[in-house]
Amino acid sequence: MTTIEPPARIGLAGGDVEAPPLSPGQMAWRRFRRHKLAMANAVLLILLFVYSFGGAFVYSEAYANYNDTTKRLQPPSWEHPFGTDTIGRDILARTIYGGQISLLIGITAVLVQLVIGILIGALAGYYGGLLDSLLMRFTEAVLTIPGLFLLLIMAKYFTGKVPDITLLGRTYSGSVVVIVLIIGLTSWPRLARIVRAEFLALKENDFITAARATGTPNSQIIFRHILPNTVAPIVVTATLSVAGAIISEAYISFLGLGVQPPTATWGNMITGSTNYIEGAPWLWFFPGLLILLTVLSINFVGDGLRDALDPRSRPE
């Protein structure tokens, strides 16, 4: 006897409620997976994280900061694959610990940026009027100050005034916190303007009027109705800002005002190499290459996310 199979959808759902379909997040992930360049760079980015955080199991921090001046400026060898620096420290170990700092600075600075940027942008865009005018004039004021100038002043002022902190078994010098705050506090205006523009457009939608007609409080309209609809531009800006923050850290450290030695960062490792650009290129080549790869891969991932989070494109 032949039986007719019920359609799969009914069978899966037990006849009651059909299974949840692909959420916008799952749709985005499908689109992202099809973006080959972004996927390749996402893998590279993961490898860079594994390198920086996994490498800690191979070399200790004490080893990264151990100096033996009899072994200074040695070119790459089996004992020191990336060579040694001006006071005989192992560059491979230092790029590992420096990478931790650089990546952490990149991520945490962007978290600071996200909190401030989203809050200011959302309030200005949603409420409009005088609040909008005040917040946006403030934002523009921050934007007009040259970023590097502000970074240097604040770095100079705060250095040495913040105590060290210990996190996950590693002690970070206070200068790391300072750098994170400085980068976070100077990078939010761009995000705030993007978020505000999104809010201005979205709040005119009927679904917002419907929520207001239902009595939904403003806080819920902002955070549950509008904010989820601005996720695409926020995620893209945030990823690109991670790259920006890593570069900012590198150039503040390069100018000698960033994270202070012996704590290594990719940026301050390059600082130490300025006098040996031709004589000992391994000093700047390896940290420079790592910065390049990180920033490049983050930018490509950001590009892929921008395409993936656009709801108008559909996975085939």
Binding site: A213, T214, G215
Partner: protein
């Protein structure tokens, strides 16, 4: 049908939007008189149609009535709640008892929420079904009430057609058991075949649930079909209000007459015999509306005093309101 008890009472409602210029220090450079002094009642269980050209202030009336725009002047009373001054618990009650259905079925549903979250929102906000599971059950009931499958609760709006999305919007409006629903051109964005379905659904729901509608539209034949009484609006003010059949058969105001003569008739013989009243000129700007009767600039029967004296909103015949100097009141009334 209507009893003699008004559920909604609107008196001299005004909504002016200032036009502002300047950064931080704003100054008002003009005022759009979107709604300027309208008065009417809506009886319990009836459908009041509100028709008029684009931009005449129809939607603004609907939204101001629900307190979504603060009114400039006047009063709105819905089921005993004074909308213009309601706060706190009164306001929450109003938000439950008065709801709204929108024109654009694509903009009126949050694209990132599931149907379950959208229709369940009023239940959640008003704490009508605090239990998650009970709430989902209620959402399924509501979807079935509007002719959708309760199995689709986990879908997103983009997985539905325009007509289905409009039904979701109606289900959301019904969730909090309202008495009064403002239907802001609910069928204007739909295909003709779907329009009839949605209109029939709205009528069925009205009978089943005893709803009262303010039906904003510009499709005059559809309005005649669904509405018990019809109000005609021109440039921010009401010009005529009467029972549908009376208004369509014996319009008193020259604007209403012109408007109705523009409705296409399916029978070519009738259409050829009909006299089409074509109005001259354009609708004046609501920023600087004409003095006196707002319609005098285009009115075929305008007299000199029409440009000076604002016509009174009065009953020319029992329950037939009109704002025109030239309409004679019925004898003995």
């Amino acid at each position: 049908m209507e009893t003699n008890e008004p559920l909604v009472r609107v008196r001299n409602l005004k909504k002016h939007f200032p036009i502002r210029r300047g950064i931080v220090f704003e100054r008002t450079v003009g005022i759009v008189q979107a709604v300027d002094g309208v008065s009417y009642d809506i009886y319990r269980g009836e459908t009041l149609g509100l028709v008029g050209e684009s931009g005449c202030g129809k939607s603004t009336i609907g939204r101001t009535m629900l307190g979504l725009y603060p009114p400039t002047a006047g009063s709105v009373n819905i089921a005993g709640i004074e909308v213009t001054t309601a706060r706190g618990a009164q306001m929450r009650l109003l938000r439950r008892k008065a709801q709204m259905i929108f024109q654009d079925p694509f903009a009126s549903l949050n694209p990132r929420w599931t149907v379950s979250a959208i229709v369940g929102e009023p239940l959640r906000i008003h704490n009508l079904e605090p239990d998650r599971q009970r709430r989902d059950e209620r959402v399924k009931e509501l979807l079935e009430l509007v002719g959708l499958s309760g199995r689709h609760v986990n879908r997103f709006p983009h997985e539905f057609s325009g007509g289905q999305r409009q039904r979701i919007g109606i289900a959301r409006a019904l969730a909090s058991n309202p008495d009064f629903i403002v239907c802001d051109e609910p069928i204007a964005a739909l295909d003709v075949s779907i329009q009839a379905q949605v209109v029939n659904l709205l009528e069925d729901l009205q009978t089943q649930l005893g709803l009262t509608y303010l039906f904003i539209a510009h499709d005059l034949s559809m309005v005649r079909h669904i509405c018990d009484r019809v109000a005609v609006m021109y440039l921010g003010g009401l010009v005529e209000l009467a029972a549908s059949d009376v208004l369509y058969e014996h319009p008193l105001h020259p604007y209403t007459q012109a408007l109705l003569s523009a409705v296409p008739v399916a029978d070519p013989k009738v259409a050829r015999k009909r006299q089409r009243i074509v109005l001259q000129g354009d609708v004046p700007s609501p920023i600087n509306p004409p003095p006196g009767c707002r319609f005098h600039t285009r009115c075929p029967i305008a007299q000199p005093h029409c440009a000076q004296v604002v016509p009174e909103w009065r009953q020319a015949q029992p329950d037939h309101w009109v704002a025109c100097h030239e309409v004679e009141p019925k004898q003995g009334f």
